[in-house]
Symmetry: C2
Subunit: 223 residues, 2 copies
């Protein structure tokens, strides 16, 4: 039989792998990481199931690769645009802003990838959940670090409990995610911004978004 796609160089294989992961991220955002199916992916991409699975070995390995790719996207869309802001409340507010925007823009069609995924893996065990916990833990501790900076600078009360602020911030973001996904209510973004404003009052007289080209905040790699 005539081979339909006769190119199988190593370089092509890398591109194929990219295509698989990219499509898997989009699909998993909507259907969940467990909702990914090899057959569906293969037919969407014009591959055979064995050809597709050959790149990863098992479905679980694919899920982990998808999760890591999602983290790269999250980093690019949320962390990086806010990284250069002044550490403390200013950067916290910047991260919240990029996060809300990332949800508004629908970077992932199913809302925040990690919120969905952590809810999906609530009660299970295994490597996927372990990775999720580590990724989410990195998110929380990075926020908490900036809360501590803010408290040290007097932008927040000195007795501020960083974990408490992170807890409430996450709540705001999850509530936004939930509202958008369940009701398609775009106006909820304004509510989220108002809630963030109340939780993290804009620091007084500090020049907003002072661009200091030399300084880079912790350059990110949630993993």
């Amino acid at each position: 039989m005539a081979p339909v796609s006769p190119r199988r160089s190593v370089a092509e294989a890398r591109r194929t792998r990219e295509r698989i992961i990219e499509h898997s991220v989009a699909l998993a955002s909507l259907e969940g990481l467990e909702g990914l199916t090899i057959g569906r992916l293969a037919s969407d991409l014009g591959l055979s199931k064995s050809g597709l699975l050959g790149h990863f070995g098992t479905k679980e390995a694919l899920q982990l690769a998808v999760l890591e790719r999602a983290a790269v996207i999250f980093d690019r869309e949320v962390w990086r645009p806010a990284a250069d802001a002044e550490p403390g409340v200013t950067r916290l507010r910047a991260v919240c802003a990029t996060w809300i925007s990332y949800l508004e823009r629908g970077v992932f069609p199913g809302g925040c990838f990690f919120v969905s995924a952590t809810f999906e893996y609530d009660g299970r065990g295994g490597p996927v959940r372990d990775l999720l916990r580590r990724q989410f833990g990195a998110w929380r501790s990075r926020l908490a670090a900036d809360v501590r900076v803010a408290a040290g600078r007097g932008e927040l009360p000195s007795d501020t409990d960083p974990e408490q602020v992170v807890f409430e911030l996450n709540g705001i973001l999850m509530s936004l995610n939930h509202t958008i996904q369940l009701y398609g209510d775009t106006g909820a973004a304004a509510r989220a911004r108002r809630a963030v404003d109340r939780l993290l009052p804009s620091p007084p007289s500090a020049p907003v978004a002072p661009r200091r080209p030399g300084e880079r905040g912790a350059s990110p790699k949630p993993a």
Copy 2:
């Protein structure tokens, strides 16, 4: 072959249906509504698949029945214990307290049934999602009604946006649900209570309103 379970009266059938729903609620709380499988349920309950499905017709009908039962449990565990409190902030705080306790006690082993379910049905359509939206909408509007009462009584600023308060309350509760399920962190309940306190300051013992309206937000100090 000797029939293993020879009792099939109408009354027994009702009990069987109860058993199915009860077990399904517990299972769906952990595995999700979509994660319910007829075969698993049947084997857990010592029934045949056809015998089990005969009570509902389709899996979707079972899911709807499970959702309605979950709502009954939620009503019993969260709404009812707070129903007799003074309408307004007092009752809002009571509902939040029962909700937090309901999560602490693990009424559903997988956390709040409706939080999990709405996240699961984020991106899908169909009757199950429709019912979920209605149920969640009822929750929101009941909370909003009490917020309006509170604002009318001066317990909250008169220009309070009820939907905003509900949005933030839901965030606190979802953050708690998330923390408990992903990390098993029981201390998070204290954080949730603190956050609720800040959002809904306890009204003074006298039903008068010493708070000056016009001041936005529940409390000027974050954290």
